[in-house]
């Protein structure tokens, strides 16, 4: 286990969600659930982040923003699609301004459905993301040698 999975930093971006999932992402960082005790820190700077938490679906206007955040994050990185909107578009799938889930803009590692997603599910997803981060890191190291 390397340092990266002992204290993963997360960055959150709201694609076009209804706010429910965003608020639950923040709630997961609060005293009741308190993921900070596991070293998970919410950062506003993509250059410091290991895990991208995406909520909400993708549209023409926010696609470049999401891609920009993703490209600024250093390798290895993991993208989590939180909530049913980020997974597939959910209830808004038929809306004219919804292209679909987060995978329309960036490669997604884990899909976490729920409307609105519960903080427990977010914590579970972040814990699973640590395993993926470790694997990606090992693959990077192997390629470097």
């Amino acid at each position: 286990m390397s340092s990266i999975s002992k204290s993963p930093w997360v960055i959150h971006y709201d694609g076009s969600s209804c706010n429910g999932c965003d608020i639950e992402v923040l709630a997961a960082l609060m005293p009741r659930f308190d993921v900070e005790r596991f070293g998970v820190i919410n950062t506003g700077n993509p250059k410091h982040a290991d895990i991208l938490l995406l909520t909400g679906s993708i549209n023409e206007q926010n696609k470049p923003v999401v891609q920009n955040i993703y490209n600024q994050m250093p390798e290895p990185k993991v993208v989590l699609a939180l909530g049913i909107c980020a997974t597939s578009g959910g209830i808004f799938r038929e809306c004219y301004n919804v292209m679909g889930g987060a995978d329309k803009a960036v490669p997604v590692d884990l899909y976490v459905p729920g409307c609105a997603i519960r903080p427990e599910a977010i914590i579970d997803a972040v814990v699973q993301a640590l395993g993926i981060l470790e694997k990606k890191r090992a693959a990077m190291n192997a390629a470097a040698v």
Binding site: N19, G20, I23, M30, N45, P46, I69, V98
Partner: protein
């Protein structure tokens, strides 16, 4: 004269849980103008009324916003019920009022936390959200959901709450009220917090009226206007006087919200005292026909639902005017001339809910 610089604020910014972009034109540290660009969260859900029938659309209306979710759903139901000429039973009206006020308490606590975060008071942020979790527990116990709980439906409410449970809720709320008073006094009396909020982002009464501000933004500027005065749901039976402050700055708006939390607890108490046993829903008969405006008070201000039916199960047109959208113009006016460091605090004091505004 110093050089003008444009500083982009958002769409991805640490104090904003949601994306909005502002181009801040600054001279030295002073903001001369703020130019917004919105549309990052536009989904176009008003057009979904053509694809989802009027009963199913409640779920979409609730997902306009995840914070004031319940009141969105309820207001939509109110507009459709008027088109169907349904008479909603008393018990359902009282339950709707109770859930509306619980939503208001959790929304205001959430806002208090985010505001504390915007001026860097991390522990106050955590404390506000800690108490908010307790309110969410009450909501979860009575409805099964945390933030989007789908308790309203066309014709009444989806679940009943037993009188034993209602008394329990009241006891809990009295305990939480004390905790809220403690953090409230930090917001209102702490010297550092006062420095960040008093005299910052002043909106005069005349401006608030002419720019069409709503909610705590309007009441913080000395205008006594609240849709709950119209007496929808069971507010008419309970009686209601809005909380009004006159200073018009960030501090006044904070004070309005803190006092409104206490007021909401009182309203819930009155509801629990007056509520009587009875049916919680009526059968939905017929198809919506005609047009109607439903107006209610959300935590952020007045929301207007316009619904137009044509006698089929799909509404012909549905339109929502959300409080954040109404508050954007006053926000831009208050940003003009402020210090760059105060921008996050001022943006937050309108209680922005971008997903409401853009839908």
């Amino acid at each position: 004269m110093s050089n003008r610089t444009i500083i982009p604020f958002g769409p991805q910014h640490p104090v904003l849980p949601e994306p909005i972009h502002l181009d801040l034109v600054v001279e030295d540290e002073k903001v001369v103008e703020a130019i917004p660009s919105i549309g990052f969260i536009h989904r176009g859900l008003e057009k979904l009324v053509e694809k989802k029938d009027f009963i199913d659309f409640v779920y979409v209306a609730e997902r306009i916003c995840g914070i004031c979710s319940y009141i969105h759903g309820m207001t939509y139901c109110m507009s459709v019920e008027q088109l169907l000429k349904l008479e909603i039973p008393d018990r359902a009206q009282y339950l709707r009022t109770i859930w509306s006020e619980l939503s208001r308490i959790h929304s205001h606590l959430l806002w208090l936390g985010l505001t504390a975060d915007s001026f860097g008071f991390e522990s106050l942020f955590m404390q506000s959200w800690r108490i908010r979790e307790s309110i969410l527990d009450i909501i979860e116990e009575t409805t099964g959901g945390r933030v989007i709980f789908g308790a309203a439906k066309v014709g009444g409410v989806r679940r009943d709450v037993s009188s034993v449970k209602l008394d329990e809720i009241m006891k809990k709320l009295r305990v939480y009220q004390k905790e809220i008073n403690t953090i409230g006094s930090v917001f209102l009396n702490d010297t550092t917090v006062k420095h960040r909020m008093q005299g910052v982002g002043v909106l005069s009464q005349a401006d608030a009226k002419s720019l069409g501000a709503v909610g705590p933004m309007l009441r913080g500027s000395g205008v006594s206007q609240d849709m709950r005065m119209t007496g929808y749901a069971s507010y008419g039976k309970i009686g209601f006087t809005p909380v009004v402050e006159t200073a018009g700055d960030c501090y006044a708006r904070t004070k309005v919200r803190i006092l409104e939390i206490a007021q909401s607890v009182d309203i819930i108490q009155k509801c629990i005292e007056q509520i009587k046993e009875g049916p919680i829903e009526v059968k939905v008969i017929g198809m919506p026909d005609g047009e109607y405006f439903a107006r209610t008070e959300q935590p952020r201000g007045e929301v207007i639902y316009y619904a137009k039916g044509n006698g089929t199960k799909f509404l012909q047109r549905m339109r929502v005017r959300t409080p954040t959208f109404a508050n954007l113009a006053p926000l831009l006016a208050t940003l003009r001339g402020c210090q760059l460091a105060d921008v996050p605090v001022i943006v937050l004091t309108i209680d922005p809910c971008i997903s409401c505004a853009e839908r």
